[in-house]
């Protein structure tokens, strides 16, 4: 399918850092000329620390059978091909594991390809399935993903994950992703709390200590939110009724991130089925339309991130960020780029007004806050206030503290990665399934509990994110029925 070359996001003149690359961050304007693509069903296994009684093939089969259940016309012979995602050959210790999923599901000799893009693997798989249908190559495409992380001890697992960082310069220093995200949030807190909220404190160490304390308190609110939301999600690995103190007092993993602010490793699988309009209407009276897809990248090494300018969303002005050197190590430029592309395609100009909810990649409580800003739910620097005001919280759930603006734009109503778990290749697809049920209005049916069903949710976003923001996908889903 031909794509028109697009315009670029205008960047401001370079006024600050002499050493910054003097170029704009270009973000392609998508020109959606492909076919309309609908999601018609999906399935998820319960995410767990380990599923010793199921290997990855059986996990995917369970999610797939669940997806097909209740749609009599949607049988295996109607599926034209698959896209199968998992992150790590190290975790699987089975190369080309996707081939074994393909044959276990009885999909041979249909076409397939394995999708891998770090932590964003699941989100990329969703978009690969989208592209297969949008291009007309397939009418019906299965996107399936899994990860079995329980085969190695936690700290060996951390080592495998850290091998997805530069093995010359980064891994040998300690090889630890929580450490990398801690470096990012320390700088985020410095930029937005130290310099803005504690600018009057003259002792530098003291000012930064106060700022980190404040940042951690607010990050803990995010952790409490996601764990409590998950109490109503039977698929979640770690539903918990935590307090801010519980989160702050949990074990320090990498300063200032504590255990309860970090997602865990999981075994799990998820799948989606996407198809064209004619089949969507045949299969279900509640199809969900994919109206936007976006993706972005950034350097593998944090140390290489530039200090340039913010690519603007339609509702932002260059003067909002005159003093900001971007993205540095405090923000995810890939997330911003993915958001710009997806929003533009979906016609979204004011995301916090035009989206009803977001399932967002909260591998860390810190990265959830950083991502609010990337996705334009608030301006850069306002992420902490956004949490304190209560915007991303759900109405009607007792979090143990006041959330004045609860329901403004619920983020991670499912509980997110922090509470649901993060079986990497499945995670982005899990978000798609939860968003799909949310938009269909079928949460109560699938969760056996209506609490997390948002009233009249018409449009939502899913957001999948790879190591320190080296790749991000954003997809927009909308109700495709009246």
């Amino acid at each position: 399918m031909a794509r028109r070359e697009g315009s670029t996001v205008p960047a401001r003149a370079n006024t600050k850092s002499k050493s910054s690359p003097k170029r704009a961050t270009r973000v392609r304007t998508p020109s959606p000329k492909g076919r309309r693509v609908y999601m018609v069903t999906g399935g998820v296994t319960k995410f767990a620390k380990a599923h010793p009684a199921m290997d990855f093939r059986l996990m995917v089969k369970r999610a797939y059978d669940y997806a097909l259940k209740g749609i009599p016309n949607l049988t295996a012979d109607r599926i034209d091909g698959t896209r199968i995602s998992y992150f790590s050959d190290h975790f699987a210790r089975q190369l080309k594991a996707a081939s074994m999923v393909q044959d276990y599901l009885g999909m041979n000799p249909k076409g397939s390809v394995r999708i891998e893009w770090g932590g964003a693997t699941g989100g990329e798989c969703f978009q690969a399935a989208y592209e297969a249908v949008a291009s007309g190559r397939m009418d019906v495409c299965l996107g399936a993903g899994f990860e079995t992380m329980s085969r190695v001890p936690t700290w060996k697992g951390n080592e495998f994950i850290a091998l997805a960082s530069d093995t010359n310069f980064d891994f040998p220093l300690g090889g630890f992703y929580t450490g990398y995200y801690a470096l990012m949030v320390v700088r985020h807190i410095y930029e937005y709390l130290r310099l803005r909220k504690f600018q009057d404190v003259t002792d530098e160490r003291e000012a930064q200590r106060l700022a980190v304390e404040e940042g951690c308190r607010i990050m803990s609110l995010v952790s409490v939110k996601n764990h409590r939301n998950a109490l109503h999600n039977p698929y979640a690995q770690y539903p918990k009724r935590l307090t801010v103190e519980d989160v702050l007092n949990s074990e320090m993993i990498s300063y200032p991130l504590t255990r309860e602010q970090i997602c865990t490793m999981s075994d799990g699988a998820a799948c989606v089925i996407l198809c064209d309009e004619a089949r969507a209407k045949e299969f279900t009276d509640k199809p969900i339309l994919v109206t936007g897809v976006g993706t972005g990248t950034d350097t593998m090494r944090l140390a290489d991130r530039p200090f340039g300018h913010v690519p603007l969303l339609p509702h932002e002005k260059a003067k909002d960020y005159e003093d900001l050197r971007y993205p540095g190590v405090h923000s995810f430029r890939a997330g911003r780029a993915a958001g710009i592309e997806a929003y533009r395609m979906a016609g979204i100009t004011h995301p916090n007004e035009q989206l009803d909810f977001i399932e967002l990649h909260d591998a860390y409580a810190s990265s959830e806050i950083q991502t609010y800003e990337d996705l334009g739910l608030c301006k850069y620097g306002e992420g902490y206030e956004f949490v304190e005001r209560g915007d991303p919280f759900l109405k009607g759930i007792d979090y143990g503290f006041d959330v004045p603006r609860a329901g403004a734009i619920p983020v991670n109503p499912s509980g997110g990665l922090i509470a649901c778990g993060h079986p990497v290749g499945a995670t982005g697809l899990m978000q798609a399934v939860f968003a799909f049920w949310q938009l269909q209005g079928t949460i109560a049916k699938h969760f056996g509990d209506p609490t997390l069903q948002l009233k009249n949710a018409r449009r939502g976003a899913i957001h999948s994110h790879a190591g320190t923001g080296s790749a991000v996908t954003v997809s927009i889903l909308e109700r495709g029925f009246r």
Binding site: S17, S19, S20, P21, K22, R23, P52, A53, L58, R93, P153, W155, K156, N158, E159, A162, T167, N168, F169, D170, F171, P172, L173, G174, G175, F176, T178, G179, A182, L183, M184, V186, R187, Y190, R194, E204, R205, Q208, E251, M252, I253, S254, Y255, P256, T299, R301, L302, A303, D304, R305, P306, F307, V329
Partner: protein
């Protein structure tokens, strides 16, 4: 799925022997049994630093080397070297970095990968150097969590018995 058969006669006979190797029958809450075996896996990789080699060889001589874009109009200086400029694509040349810099960001890792667990807690810092456009990630020693702050002046130290790893250089607070 149908129930699995429960006739593990042979396994029970040799169970103690198997358990020594870490093998076991796992029984889940529903009584479904799965056989778990262990298989160690290690490998010696032959890894070339290739175009990054001068950086690692430089550490052994107590030199910190970055790279500078050769195109005069660009001239971007990278603290973490790369042989081609990420901004304009031109080749770069090796330049000496200052031995002193400041903490751009930092953390103290209380856990780490299995390979580094025994070294915890350790500090990581991203170093910014005056006149250099990008950062360098290093270990920060001779200080503890409560000493550290963004903007802290720090300086390089080098391993006298080099291991040809990024850990041949580390930084300490400037005195």
């Amino acid at each position: 799925m149908t129930a699995r058969p429960h006739t593990y006669t042979k396994f029970k006979e040799v169970q103690s022997e198997l358990e020594r190797s870490g093998s076991a029958i796992y029984r889940d809450a529903e009584g479904v049994e799965s056989l778990i075996v262990r298989s160690p896996y290690s490998i010696n990789y032959v890894h070339s630093y290739a175009e990054d080699s001068p950086f690692f060889l430089g550490l052994a001589d107590g030199k910190l080397r970055g790279s500078k874009c050769r195109k005069p109009k660009c001239g971007f200086v990278f603290a973490t070297p790369r042989s081609h400029c990420m901004v304009c694509g031109a080749p770069t040349e090796w330049v000496d970095l200052p031995n002193k810099g400041r903490v751009h960001s930092w953390t103290t890792c209380h856990f780490g990968s299995e390979a580094f667990l025994k070294e915890t807690p350790y500090n990581l810092a991203m170093v910014e150097f005056a006149g250099v456009g990008s950062l360098l990630l290093v270990r920060l020693k001779e200080c503890v969590e409560s000493d550290l702050y963004v903007g802290m002046p720090i300086e390089a130290r080098f391993e006298s018995n080099p291991k040809y790893s990024i850990t041949d250089v580390w930084f300490v607070p400037s005195r």
